[in-house]
Structure formats: C-alpha cells, structure tokens
C-alpha cells in the first residue's frame, strides 16, 4: 500500500476524500490515505507547498491565485480534477430576514433574481458579506450576484472569515450576510443568527467548488500515485452521487475525526433539504451539491480562465495573460490520462463557452456521447475563454 497524506478543511464537500478512505475506494487502488484536517485555507496551501501533504482539497480559485503570483513563493500547484460543485449557501442576518419578509419576499430559496432585487430594495447602506477566502467560489458567486442585482461595487464590502467563525461574526454584527460552504450555513441557522436566502446553484447552476490540487512536480514525477488517487476520488464521487448514499455519507462525515458535528447538520447539505430559517422552514434544493454526475469532475480550462480573469481585474492585473497562465494549471491532460482507464466520459474539447447550458445536455464525447451538467448563470451571463485548448 502506498501512503498518501491529504490535507482538507472540515466541510461536507470533503466527502470524496473521506468516502475514498472509509469505503475502500483508495485501498482498491493500493492507497492508504492519511487525512489531515486543517483550520485555514492558507494552511492547506502552505502545507502542500512545503510538501508536508501530498495533495489537498482546495477551493477551486486558490491555485489560480497562486498561478497569478498573488500568494507566497511556493512551488507550482495544479488542479487535476474538480471534487464538487455547489454546496454553498448565502445567508442574511435576522434583521435583514425580517425586512425581506415584511417587503413580501417568499424565501423560496431558488430564484436568485428575485432574491437579489428584494435584498437591493431593503439594504440602505453598505452590505458587508463574509466569504471564506480571497480566492473562493463564494466570493465569485457573491460578487456576480450582487452586481447583477444592482449593488454598485462601493455598496458591498467582502470580508474574509474562516467558515467556523461566520456565525459568530454575524451574531456580533461584523457582517450582514455571508456565503459559505455547508455545514457552516446550517450551523448559523441552528444557532438562530441567520436565515438562508439562496443556494450557490441558484446563481450559477454548476459552481465548481473544491478541486484536488497537487504540486506540479509531484503530479508529473509520480504518475502512478497521482492516477490512483484521482481514480479513487472519482469513484468515491460516483458513489456519493447516488441519492440513497447521501445519508450514510453524512453519518460517516460527521464522526469526531472528521466534521465532529451532529449528523443532521451534514445531512442537510448532502441531501439538499435545508432548514432555511430558525423558525424551522424547510426547502428542497435539488442538486445542492454534486460530486460526479454530468462530468462534474472535469476541470474545464475555460473555468480557470473565467475565474482568473475576474481575480486579475480585482487585483489590477492584465486579464488575458492571467487567463492564459491560469489555464495551464487546470490539468485536463492528466485528467484524460488517468481517468480514461477508469471509464470516465471525456469531452472532445478542454475549453468551452461557460454558462451556455440552461439544461443538462447530451454532447459528443471522445467515445460516443456524454451528458454535461447544466451550467447557466441566473442572469444569462456567459463567458468565452481567450484561446481554444486542445489537450
């Protein structure tokens, strides 16, 4: 058995790592996984950079921030597959909840346009929104949604807060709203300080959330272990996307060694049945979090370009070079090489127009056909990457 050390943050989307270890998908590939829980995203990145873990569960935009030179001096890092889509929720404090209800908002937890307009109408001053990291899908979702809902950039302040501190920060008035991965939104509802307004998937149908990130030197010089790890996680994701397995996954994930929370909290996000307000209102959000179906794990280079372009604009860097640099860090070549033998459906191209699929669609694959998951944005936004990429 080859021993691999994996870093992760305790969130429901760490499920593929935990399931790969606990249900034997890793062992089938000859791997013994040592899972190390960390407290900060910066720590995950640094431990990977220093070679103190071999691979990491990481926010999809993080390796892009590194690629653009916006992080510490560490060896090159590549994202080899997505581990999950969605899993985030946008929450508002109780005062905003009351104002939204008074103004007639239905808290349907579905329509990002309606929720955005309602919020715009009841917020007078600056809206302070907590996000988990300066390079995060949560930050991208929040800024996309708020700007499309009529919030000027100066009317929004995005504040970085570690997920376990979100509920406290909301209780103390440090933020008015936040966007965070489960179970931390549910924890805040449970504590009576927040109401959930939207799932991330209401803004972008398939927001890539976590990826498997390795150092480039590891991925390129140790292809057997890299491939074995990718296949184990890909199979764990397939197991996780069977709805009947989500309850079991919540049980395993909730154990003291992983999330260390009551299983009912992990279950909400994993089953897409969320309690959206302390008063007990329940909402169903189908596809709240996805791990596998519809080629969810394929690391489209166009997504690297889309997110890197936005990061570059925010930090005053030229956009097109940033996009091109970022695309080289999403390793569709390694994805094809290592997951083809496992039978993964592979798209013909590695970049595409993002936001073009309003519904799941059957498309030609390397072999035969495959289904791609819907990836539309609530406001019809779409994005064309700078260069078509072949590998």
């Amino acid at each position: 058995m080859k021993r691999l050390r994996l870093g992760y943050l305790p969130l429901i989307d760490a499920a593929p790592l935990v399931v790969a270890r606990e249900l034997g998908f890793a062992a089938e590939e000859g791997l013994a996984l040592e899972l190390r829980a960390f407290g900060a995203w910066a720590q995950v990145r640094d431990m990977l950079g220093a070679g103190l873990v071999d691979a990491a569960h990481m926010l999809v935009p993080m390796p892009l921030g590194q690629a653009l030179g916006l992080g510490p001096a560490l060896p090159a890092m590549d994202l080899v597959m997505f581990l999950s889509h969605g899993g985030q929720a946008i929450a508002v404090n109780r005062a905003l909840e009351a104002r939204l209800r008074d103004a007639g908002h239905d808290f349907a937890f579905r329509d990002a346009g309606a929720a955005g307009r309602a919020l715009r109408a009841v917020v007078a001053g600056r809206l302070r929104v907590g996000v988990p990291f300066p390079f995060s899908t949560q930050l991208e979702l929040t800024s996309l949604w708020l700007s499309a809902s009529g919030f000027a950039p100066a009317a929004v302040e995005l504040v970085t807060l570690p997920p376990p501190m979100m509920a406290d920060a909301m209780a103390s008035g440090e933020v008015d709203a936040f966007c965070v991965g489960e179970p931390w939104a549910s924890v805040a509802v449970e504590r009576g300080v927040a109401a959930l307004l939207l799932p991330g998937t209401a803004i972008w149908r398939a927001p890539p959330e976590k990826g498997l990130v390795l150092r480039r030197d590891f991925a390129e010089t140790r292809p057997e272990e890299t491939g074995a790890l990718m296949r184990a996680l890909w199979r764990a994701g397939r197991w996780l996307d069977a709805p009947e397995h989500r309850g079991t996954a919540a049980e395993i994930l909730s154990r003291a060694e992983y999330l260390d929370l009551p299983p009912v909290l992990a279950e909400r996000g994993l089953t897409g049945r969320l309690m959206i307000a302390p008063a007990g209102h329940m909402r169903a959000a189908p596809d709240f979090v996805a791990f596998h179906a519809g080629a969810a794990s394929f690391p489209w280079k166009s997504i690297a370009a889309l997110i890197a372009g936005r990061i570059a604009r925010r930090h005053g860097l030229p956009e097109t070079p940033a996009m091109l640099a970022a695309m080289r860090h999403f390793r569709t070549d390694l994805y094809r090489q290592h997951l083809r033998p496992a039978g993964a459906a592979l798209p013909g191209a590695s970049a595409r127009i993002e936001g073009a699929l309003a519904e799941d669609r059957v498309v030609p694959a390397e072999k035969g056909q495959m289904i791609l998951r819907a990836d539309g944005f609530f406001d019809g936004f779409s994005f064309e990457p700078p260069l078509p990429s072949r590998n």
Partner: protein, 195 residues
C-alpha cells in the same frame, strides 16, 4: 540608525506569546506587539501598521490576514506580501516550523531573516512540545480505556486484574491489533449492552 521594526505576533495563548516576544527582542531592537483577541483582527492589525506579522500556521484567523496582505496597496502600508518571495527555503523552514509570516513589501531581506530565524527557533520548540503533549495525552487516554476494559472483564467473568489484562493482551495479539483498540471495542460493546 535603522528605524525600529514593528512586529505583531497574533497569539491567543500568553504562555506561548511571551517566549516568542523574548526571542524576537533578542534578535534585534524591535517594537513587538502581541494581539491576543482575535475578533476584529483585521482592524487591530491595520491600526498597528506592522512591518511583519507572525501567526501560527494553523490559526484559522490566518485567512483574514491573507485578505489584508492582498488588499494593501503601496500607499496604505499595512501588511503587504508574504515571506520574501525570493527566499523559498526560508519560506519552507517557516512553514515546517508551523509559522506564517506576512512582511511588508520592500523590507530588505537582511532585516527579515534574523527575525524569522528567531521566530522559527521558538516555534520549533513549540511544535515539539505540542507533539509531545499530544502523545502523552493519547497514551493517558489509552491507559484509561484499558483500565475500564479490565474492570468490565473482571466483573463480567469474575477474574482478577492480572487475568483480565492477560486476556486483553492475548486477544489483541490473536487479532493483530493494538491492545487499546481491543479495549475500546470492548468498552463500546459493553456500553451497547448496558453494562
């Protein structure tokens, strides 16, 4: 004369913050400030206008400093970049010692290095102590579980302590497991059976 550097140490545990501060003072004539209270961290750090910020690598509040490091323009001069980008071995030594450093851009490497070396030495000591403490704690937990398992066996089978211990050890050897694991299983099973 060189201007004093303002070094901020973010550390909630005073027993840990003190020796770090002493180590830093020994490394040069610097103005050392300690932030223990982590709420409003971004504001506290910005107000102190530090040249260097040191924080435990595992501290979740680090992600807040990341934002500060990115947000600061040259004119604002709070925390700007991470450990000197040109010195990768130093960065790695710091990470391995469990420390992360945020350093104002443009601070000369020869001024940063002694500070980091001193901090790394102190943090290394703490890493070791932490590992030892964790090992001691784990051993203590195991002892407790084994004692409970022994007690359960003694009352269930009417045997003495020595025989109970021997039985646990034999079972562990037969199953190729550690005694603490067998004891844990026994305690859990006994709990389920309501004993």
């Amino acid at each position: 004369m060189q201007q004093k550097l303002v070094i901020v140490v973010v550390e909630p545990d005073p027993d840990r913050a003190r020796p770090i501060a002493e180590g830093l003072r020994a490394a040069g004539d610097h103005d050392i400030r300690i932030i223990a209270e982590q709420s409003g961290l971004a504001r506290q750090v910005t107000e102190l206008r530090p040249d260097v910020v040191l924080i435990d690598i595992a501290n979740p509040s680090r992600d807040i400093l990341e934002e500060l490091a990115l947000a600061s323009g040259p004119s604002e001069r709070p925390v700007a970049v991470f450990v000197d980008r040109s010195d990768e071995p130093l960065t790695r030594a710091a990470i391995e010692a469990g420390i992360s450093a945020y350093v104002v851009d443009g601070l000369r490497p020869e001024r940063i290095k002694p500070i980091l070396d001193a901090a790394i030495a102190r943090f290394n000591v703490f890493q070791q102590m932490r590992a030892e403490l964790a090992a001691t704690r784990a051993a203590l937990e195991e002892r407790k579980v084994i004692d409970r398992a022994k007690a359960i066996l003694m009352s269930a089978r009417g045997i003495n302590e020595e025989a109970a211990y021997a039985l646990l050890r034999k079972t562990a050897m037969d199953q190729g497991k550690r005694m603490a694991e067998i004891a844990q299983q026994l305690v859990m099973a006994a709990g389920l059976l309501g004993r």
